[in-house]
Amino acid sequence: MITTIPVLDDDPFGDEILTDPYPFHQRLRDSGPVVHLRRYGIWAMGRYAEVHAALTDPATFCSSRGAGLSDFHREKPWRPPSLLLEADPPTHTATRKAMSAVIAPRTVRRFREGFTASAESIADELVARGEFDAVTDLAERYPLQVFPDIVGLPADGRENLLPYGGLAFNAFGPRNALLEEALAAAAPVQEWIWKSCQRDALSPDGLGASIWAAADAGDITHEQAPMLVRSLLSAGVDTTVHGIANTVAALAAHPEQWAALHADPTLAKFAFDEALRYAGPVQTFFRTTTREVEVAGTVIGEGEKVLLFLAAANRDPRKWGPDADRLDITRRASGHVAFGMGIHQCVGQPIARLEIELVLTALARRIARLEPLGDPVPKLNNTLKGWQSVPLRAHAGG
């Protein structure tokens, strides 16, 4: 049987698609389950079924050759590969297990009090001010207050986390202007990041120290410990910054959804989950095939790069129904792949969910209406979808 493989010429890392990816996502899904992207000579999947299947088949769609465009078999990575994100079983199994134990439910429960205090104080301040920017006054502030504390980072230099995260996520894309700029911006901070991953830089009661303790216990090696602390720093900040900004921006653009949340702030965790589905921060990840594989009739050879569009899968009408493009905080959003799925699913997911549920609850209790004061300004990144500025006015309500 001869099947025609759909080919698209678009640049998914170009400014146009990064600014507004959704029309392209629709074309991608409608073109077929597996599409060839000519510009980069790679494969792409945008439908939920295939994206989910690839994420949960790490033996075929591996990560050790990089979760970005670059194939680590052919090119030297920009930094030593992540022991979690850019590793396969069985090596991945041990580090993942150690990291899961560090971020155990019991540990995360202890963060509630500190997160709540920060969230309440920021929410009070924003309501008092009336006008605020959901990015600079909220999304970039709150995680930078609470997250470095639980890791146990030194107080000085925490602002370095944002350019580092920006680079880590831009580096999954091609070497375009965005990546060049990110490399330049992050060049001065890489030394600080690596120093902060060392045992002597970390407070004795944080997640960083727990990772070092896992090395003392023999669960991981002492060489792996700073690498795993680095994973926390790369993956734990920008993602939640974008998560908060995207959630608040989406809810502000849908006044009836905010009104429902204000009426019942216990919906906050569902609102965040739906916002992740609707506008997840992490738009894409790559995998590399370990063997020739047939997916929905298309044969992909061994050693090929496959770009998985998580955000396109999360709006696939084949999975979510005809209103997949609509934000609905009462929807059953469970099963979305904004955190990934399978063995590489975000290990910090419980922290992110707790962080954002609490800040959203604090805002929803106090604010009856969020009025947009202008169009949000997009922030472009090869992997992350987010905003540079989301100007809002908070209307307090009881």
């Binding site: 079924a49 299947a53 690839a54 949960t56 088949d57 790490p58 033996a59 075929t60 591996c62 050790s64 396969d88 079983p89 069985p90 090596t91 199994t93 041990a94 899961s100 134990a101 155990a104 439910p105 019991r106 995360v108 919906l267 965790k269 569902f270 989950d273 370990t290 063997r291 594989v293 047939e294 997916v295 929905a296 009462t330 059953r332 469970s334 099963g335 979305h336 955190f339 799925m341 399978g342 063995i343 699913q345 975000c346 997911q349 419980p350 969910r353």
Partner: protein
């Protein structure tokens, strides 16, 4: 090969033959009442045996895939188990009708030039048809088969006779534990390692294969702890404390499923007990923890559970929902 999930069958089959293969191991041969061909399957596949309404067990198919008129499984009596294997051993009789679901395959044999198969005890069952496939493909393969005692090892004679020189039988009471450092000594290109057996064996093989090329090792698990989500599927009741609603959780559905179907909004993500999103406080009753996340202590406290995979030891659970 990855393809769209194929249709899953529900069949009422007749237990044609029940024979003892080894100490504590019986083989069941199932046929359709009218002699019709049964669904196709490939080595590594398993089926569900629906033993009673609330007793469902998974068993690997151990027969010959080309023999379309029968499905065969081998069942070890597990004295510490909670009734599935005892039911098979003590209650099921030749001539009985058995409800079967599947087959499904999460452990398919990939193409390779050479194979190393490592089986422990009843873990030989999915490996058995793989050997025939590897042999038919002309691959270079060997099997190391460990077990407690020689007499407890099903298919032992048959294997030694059919594949002389390729099969090594290693009863633990005679020669001790499998010498994995030697068996898996040299990582080779184009070699696939398949292992099935008890958790300590899987863990040891995984450890041994850290130096092997990525993707060489195939175990019948990836993320959840092996066996964590297995176990008997029995029905029980849950009470949702916030609404006072009582719901029945049947053997074949999860708490999460039942709660969602009742219209109560509840968060979940991985649905395999690894991410922690569906964690729910337990107000009364004793959960049967099957997640891979809570520590032993946290599980023992019985005040929280992952409702996507965990079930109940008590007839009723009260949840903070």
């Amino acid at each position: 090969m990855q393809t769209a999930p194929h249709h899953e069958y529900e069949l009422d089959l007749v237990l044609d033959k029940k024979e003892t293969l080894a100490d504590g191991v019986v083989q069941l041969t199932l046929r359709s009442a009218d002699g019709a061909d049964l669904p196709e399957w490939e080595p590594g596949a398993h089926i569900d045996l629906v033993l009673t309404d609330d007793l469902v067990r998974q068993y690997s198919l151990c027969g010959d895939p080309a023999e379309r008129s029968v499905l065969q499984v081998a069942v070890l009596r597990e004295p510490a188990g909670r009734g599935g294997s005892a039911h098979v051993h003590d209650t099921l009789a030749e001539g009985d009708t058995v409800h079967v679901r599947g087959p499904r395959n999460h452990f398919a044999l990939v193409a390779a030039v050479r194979y190393v198969f490592v089986a422990g005890g009843i873990g030989i069952t999915p490996i058995l048809p793989m050997l025939a496939q590897a042999e038919a493909a002309g691959a270079d393969w060997r099997l190391v088969y460990g077990g407690r005692t020689r007499s407890s090892m099903a298919f032992r004679d048959r294997l030694e006779q059919a594949y002389p020189g390729k099969v090594t039988v290693r009863p633990m009471d005679e020669v001790g534990l499998l010498d994995l450092p030697t068996i898996l000594a040299e990582p080779g290109a184009d070699v696939a390692v398949y292992c099935c057996g008890p958790e300590p064996l899987l863990a040891a093989v995984e450890e041994q294969c850290t130096r092997w090329p990525q993707g060489a090792l195939h175990l019948e698990r990836f993320a959840p702890k092996a066996g964590a989500t297995d176990g008997p599927m029995e029905s029980f009741e849950i009470e949702l404390s916030r609404s006072g609603t009582t719901l029945a959780v049947p053997a074949d559905r999860s708490i999460l499923d039942v709660v969602e179907a009742s219209g109560v909004q509840v968060l979940s993500s991985c649905q395999e007990g690894t991410c922690g999103t569906c964690e729910t406080a337990v107000l009364d009753g004793v959960p049967d923890h099957r997640d891979s996340l809570l520590t032993d202590e946290e599980q023992a406290a019985n005040d929280t559970m992952m409702i996507c995979v965990s079930r109940s030891c008590s007839a009723r659970l009260v949840l903070d929902l």
